[in-house]
Symmetry: C2
Subunit: 403 residues, 2 copies
Amino acid sequence: MFSEAMCKAGVTYPQGFKAAGVKAGVKKSGNLDVAVIYTEKEASVAGVFTQNAVAAAPVFASKKVVATGKAHAITANAGCANACTGEQGTKDAAAMQSITAEVLGCEPLDVVVASTGIIGVNLPMEKMEAGIKQAVSELSEHGSETAGKAIITTDTYSKSCAAEIELGGKKVRFGAIAKGSGMIQPNMATMLCFITTDAAIDSKLLQKALSEITEVSFNMISIDGDMSTNDMVIVLANGEAGNEEIKVEGADYEKFKATLQELCQGLAQRIAADGEGATKFLTVHVSGVKNFADGKTIAMSVAKSPLVKTAFFGEDPNWGRVICAVGYAGVEMVPEKTVVKFGGIPVYAYGVGAEHDEEALKQVMSQKDIVIDIDMGLGEAEATVWTCDFSYEYVKINGEYHT
Amino acid sequence: MFSEAMCKAGVTYPQGFKAAGVKAGVKKSGNLDVAVIYTEKEASVAGVFTQNAVAAAPVFASKKVVATGKAHAITANAGCANACTGEQGTKDAAAMQSITAEVLGCEPLDVVVASTGIIGVNLPMEKMEAGIKQAVSELSEHGSETAGKAIITTDTYSKSCAAEIELGGKKVRFGAIAKGSGMIQPNMATMLCFITTDAAIDSKLLQKALSEITEVSFNMISIDGDMSTNDMVIVLANGEAGNEEIKVEGADYEKFKATLQELCQGLAQRIAADGEGATKFLTVHVSGVKNFADGKTIAMSVAKSPLVKTAFFGEDPNWGRVICAVGYAGVEMVPEKTVVKFGGIPVYAYGVGAEHDEEALKQVMSQKDIVIDIDMGLGEAEATVWTCDFSYEYVKINGEYHT
């Protein structure tokens, strides 16, 4: 379903979308830092936002756009989060909307805005204005790559993805760009994700699908337990595919939602794998629980434990730390019913360490991609969380990222 | 109240207590690893224990001792946690009690037992038996120092402390040894603390005092958010001071409790300051909250944030990360009412960054001991949490501590 060429096309893979990323001088590094994504045909819009009480100005501005159900564009920048910036921040977010609207010929309320970067610093609005205008002038059907690079911060690469399905005989396309890295979890911290599709779908159904999908994708990743002030996931659906508009929860809706979910889970996994300083991608799969919430609580407890994360960095099969994190998760646990496996190899079973092949386990621990299975033996539900290990590099990146 | 000589005397500072630490060969390093503390005169005993569902065998054994209200001895080892060891672990903890009781001439149920170290490995009981017997043979009024060293793991030093007050004209003494380091928080994770006093006090009142004090001392420290399987704090009160036994909550009880609290808070702070790889001691003081629980939640959110902890390691006054952690704590927060200070210097006030003297702030950040004040402006209550920064050394210690 996802080819490399499609993924590279990203947000411009669906029909009717253009994008561009430019160097406006917001990032100190001089790298790409302002992105615009545009659809001439009005799109249904849906969004999910940070739950941090200190939400940034662009979050408030974009929530109002999503409330209208319709949008034409997304304007985003990296290098400055426009968070904790008071009234000036509110004005600057509004200016990002009005500058974009003016050059595109739409209304300010048609423009979603997003920022990521340092907190507590005002946006350099002259640079932003010039950058937005330049980005609009460079909008193209091949602009997803530069747009994707313009929204990253400490990510090692820009995440992009695409998909294609058939709905009622029409080809329907999806594309996305995302940034992640530090501060991921809970609830999609310091991440921006912009998804485009040429499907025709009612904005309320689009919102319902996105909200439900977020619970099993972006809200199931953890880098370090911090949640940012600026996170958002936005979907624009412009209807260019010509499918009959999805207005009810029938087969078309289910197919649409399944594809969007696959896209979001794939991006979530890649964001976790590219956590700051990560050397390992860890999948924590909890089964045998009474409900999803219990499973998520246990999986997050393990995924967030610095002791577990440093053990995997050191390639040490220290199951004691895993079982310890399960034990303090605050959810019912019966050691005599619990089984833990690393890469399919049982390491803890029913209250004690499990006998295992040391060499095979060593082999598992040396992999870049490791699955931790935890069967609680108490029910039929399950949950999966994706995370990464904790390395020297994480400390270096975050200790040396000076304000 | 606390002199260096008194502190060194530790658990043997109160009258009637003897202690010893020996090398039994449980630690791979060959360092001191088995400790015994003894009072010939029967003592009132109180204890608080880990809340981890995967509690170790010695935790279950010691809870039964505490339930009787009386004890004569504490036997502890480092190097092996006797956790996740099933039936054999239960037998080994019981054997630690019976071996100690036999050589001391008391009952197994008079002996508190504690273990710390690697999870999932059985205790080497031949070595333990020889070690316990040797420790008992070496019991002395100068044995606190070796006992303290025998219970540490990755601590850089053994914590000991003492105090003295007058109760009804009698001199009453307190002494303590403690180990901490990694996995501290919540609820006194991977810590052992043994406190002795020659006060005469009813065991139920002693338990009440200890439980309440734990909430504002050992439960207010965080190293990395992990909670161990083996934590315990034990108090033995043998009555040798000859004070009239404290049986009600009068002035004597309050004085006793205040001293015990000061002792526990001092130890808690030193445990936090000696967190694995720590280079900074951070005090997170939250005021202006509606109640203690809100304050603790906010302070813990800040103290646990790897982004905050790495920023302080890097001496970067990144208040954005602090306010971000306040914002996602899940407690009511009004940015426009919140003020944050580092070392008394306002860095964030009422929704935006506060103007400040850069040089003075740089000076604060270079200190080893830094206070973060967060005034929420919403009430009269407050809470203080102690923690440390996150360094390369933390990753090294925990990535390379192989099982």
